[in-house]
Amino acid sequence: MENIKTIKIYLYTRYERLWHWLQALMIICLIVTGLEIHGTYKLFGFQTAVNIHNFVGLSWLILFAFFVFWLLTTGEWKQYIPTTKKLFSVVLFYAWGIFQGKPHPIQKTKGAKHNPLQRLAYLGISAMLLPVQMITGLLYYLYNDIPQIVPLPVLAVMHTLIAFFLLNFLVIHLYMTTTGHSLFSHIAGMITGWEEIYETTEIADWETQATKK
């Protein structure tokens, strides 16, 4: 394949990146302590693990509230509207094209940061898994203080199962970051905010490096 020239656009704002990495830190922390509480291994000690899990879990609620506020006020929620358009070609790319060196069928733009597969995955997580995880977690935390509508075993099993799904997401998500132009280009993009895209992609003037302030 001929080398297509790549350029960089400023895709992720400062707040977005901070939110993303804080969220990553918290999720990993919650999974690690959560699995210890679940009895999978011994690491910090049960009591410490519970204390960390509770603290990070409650902090998470605050972070998530800011995230929702940001989504609504900036209109970024539109990034998560699911679409089947080109969904199949994205799937096909990861299943086949990627081995042939074909270009990704979707290029990231300011208006569409996520490809249709990402949109579906992130929407599922943000709108389904995370809220349920937060609700079950909060009900679990407050179990002795509020009416016990949902029995503890149900809460616990749901909370654990979703934790597994989030761990599943984490594994795939981490791997997917390596599928950029180079192994670390996506991760670099999430750190700096500047994501590499092909030059041929039509982008507005203000999005390019030249116009960045």
Partner: protein, 543 residues
């Protein structure tokens, strides 16, 4: 471009650092001495000013300043001032040995149909060996007078023996012994004035030695509690609060608070704030139902877990306790004589008169749901000999609001039962017709059951039985309470057999855990394969 980036990174780092540092708030708020726990504060208040005062000095009481020749005379002297004492006492289980206030109900009690798997039955007070612990003079049982000194004398003097000697000396007609009688009477006179509220030693004389010796029965009650340190018992420790038994076993009209056979010590746990006249018999009485520090997760446990479950990590921590008693082995002779064989801890592991024993020290309790009541299989109840017979067992389950997970000593053993009537049997042990004299179990049962009026078919065999003692004394200092992971752990949880609740760390759903792990490992395998694919196809790129 560089300076701007470094500014951003600095900001990010600051935020992340603040976040991580705030962890310290979590841990800084838990150190031991930052604030006093509510339960500790309340309990301190509840036992303030514990010094009792009195308007009487018994050494100056004239009715006690005379030569007594029998125990009954002492009792009369006591009653001459404490006019209602005997009347009150006659109504209590310490006197009647029957659980019910109604005398015609002899279902539960040592003097009734109750049995255990130690010396089995009190044979309606006909087994005179048991009466050593009855609060009467000599072996008259309820037919005699109350021996007030058994609980209210600190001298440790053996009055019964002394009066026996006086009787023997005065009957022998030898003038030489008159002097000795006088000496004994002087000793009695001195001892009798040492009147007190019951001490640990008074109560322990029977309650530490129940079942025929030190630490045989309870496991959490033995002579180590006569002078315990606070490591053994925070409440009774002589280097701590130095509580007597009656500090918690509060008393009204000589009725002493505590569990009586099937009846719980209290129906509901109440703190003194809710009811200032409530007995101080439960932990909640003084410590409240949320005794731990504010926000402590421990306070979320108290609706399910008893205080004792965590705060008594092991029982029999100083003296060993008997865990097994096998009557089938009784009756073996050496050179035609009964014998005793000692084992570990210097305790007998075999006695011809009683059978085989096992002793243990630092015993981890067994845990059951308990609402404070216990079942009691009496000599008149039909049993299933194919099963281990639970002679006494805790009552309660998760759905009982009064039930908590509670620690127990379970004493197991084998004892005789009637093969035809399918009932436990009550062999007579001491005395000339007792097993300890005749070594004839069938005959001992014959005599023993007769005392209770329960028919015996003439055919007996042995059945394995268990007897549950709630563990509630020997409360350890808080630093020795259980860790979370002694229960919240997959393998060897102390609460492995407790059902009806979900415990994180102990429990999991096998189905959903499997689904979860398949999804995670599946994802790992998937990305690994995908990665390998990319590596070998080099992403389709040619060099």
């Amino acid at each position: 471009m560089k300076p701007r980036y470094s500014l951003k990174y600095c900001l990010t780092m600051i935020v992340v650092t603040i976040f991580i540092c705030s962890f310290q708030i979590v841990f800084a708020s838990t150190p031991e001495n930052s604030e006093e726990a509510l339960g500790r504060k309340l309990a301190r208040q509840a036992v303030k000013g514990s010094k009792r005062w009195s308007t009487i000095d018994h050494t100056k009481v004239t009715v006690l300043n005379k030569d007594f020749t029998s125990g009954e005379q002492i009792t009369q002297a006591c009653i001459s001032c404490h006019s209602e004492a005997a009347t009150q006492f006659h109504k209590t289980i310490h006197w009647t040995w029957l659980a019910s206030g109604d005398k015609s109900d002899i279902r539960y009690g040592k003097a009734g149909y109750s049995v255990n798997n130690f010396c089995i039955s009190g044979n309606a007070m006909e087994d005179k060996g048991c009466l050593k612990c009855h609060t009467s003079w000599n072996k008259k049982g309820v037919k005699g007078d109350v021996n007030c000194l058994k609980c209210h004398n600190s001298s440790g003097f053996n009055f019964i023996e002394a009066f026996g000697d006086i009787k023997a000396f005065s009957e022998d007609g030898d003038p030489d012994t008159d002097e000795m009688v006088k000496d004994i009477q002087q000793e009695i006179k001195e001892a009798v004035t040492k009147v007190n509220f019951p001490t640990r030693k008074n109560c322990g004389e029977c309650h530490f030695k129940g079942g025929g010796g030190d630490g045989v029965k309870h496991g959490d009650l033995d002579t180590s509690l006569t002078k315990p340190n606070r490591m053994l018992d925070v409440h009774m420790g002589t280097d701590g609060k130095n509580f007597s038994c009656t500090r918690c076993h509060t008393t009204t009209d000589h009725h002493i608070a505590g569990r009586i056979y099937t009846n719980p010590a209290v129906e509901t746990r109440k703190s003194l704030i809710e009811d200032d006249l409530a007995p101080k018999i439960t932990c909640v009485s003084c410590h409240s139902s949320e005794p731990h520090k504010n926000d402590s997760k421990m306070n979320d446990h108290t609706d399910v877990v008893s205080c004792q479950a965590c705060h008594i990590p092991e029982y029999a921590r100083v003296n060993p306790t008997k865990m097994w008693w096998d009557w089938t082995k009784a009756g073996k002779m050496k050179d035609g004589k009964p014998y005793v064989e000692k084992g570990p801890f210097g305790k007998p592991v075999y006695k011809s008169i009683k059978g085989e024993f096992r002793w243990e020290k630092n015993v981890v309790p067994e845990y059951f749901w308990s609402n404070g009541s216990q079942t009691s299989t009496t000599i008149n109840d039909v049993i299933d000999p194919a099963q281990i017979v639970k002679v006494s067992h805790p009552v309660g389950d998760k759905n009982d609001p009064e039930a908590r997970i509670f620690p127990f000593k379970i004493h197991r053993g084998k004892q005789p039962y009637d093969k035809i009537h399918k009932k436990l049997l009550a062999p007579l042990l001491s005395g000339k017709n007792g097993y300890w004299t005749t070594f004839d179990m069938n005959d001992a049962i014959e005599h023993g059951n007769k005392t209770l009026g329960i028919p015996y078919s003439g055919e007996f065999d042995y059945v394995e039985t268990s007897y549950a003692f709630p563990i509630t004394h020997m409360v350890a200092p808080k630093e020795n309470a259980l860790n979370c992971t002694q229960c919240h752990i997959r393998e060897n949880s102390r609460l492995a057999n407790i059902t009806g609740l979900y415990m994180p760390g102990r429990d999991k759903s096998n189905l959903f855990d499997t689904i979860g792990w398949i999804s995670v490992l599946g994802a790992l395998a998937g990305v690994l394969l995908h990665g390998i694919g990319r590596f070998f196809t080099r992403n389709g790129k040619e060099d």
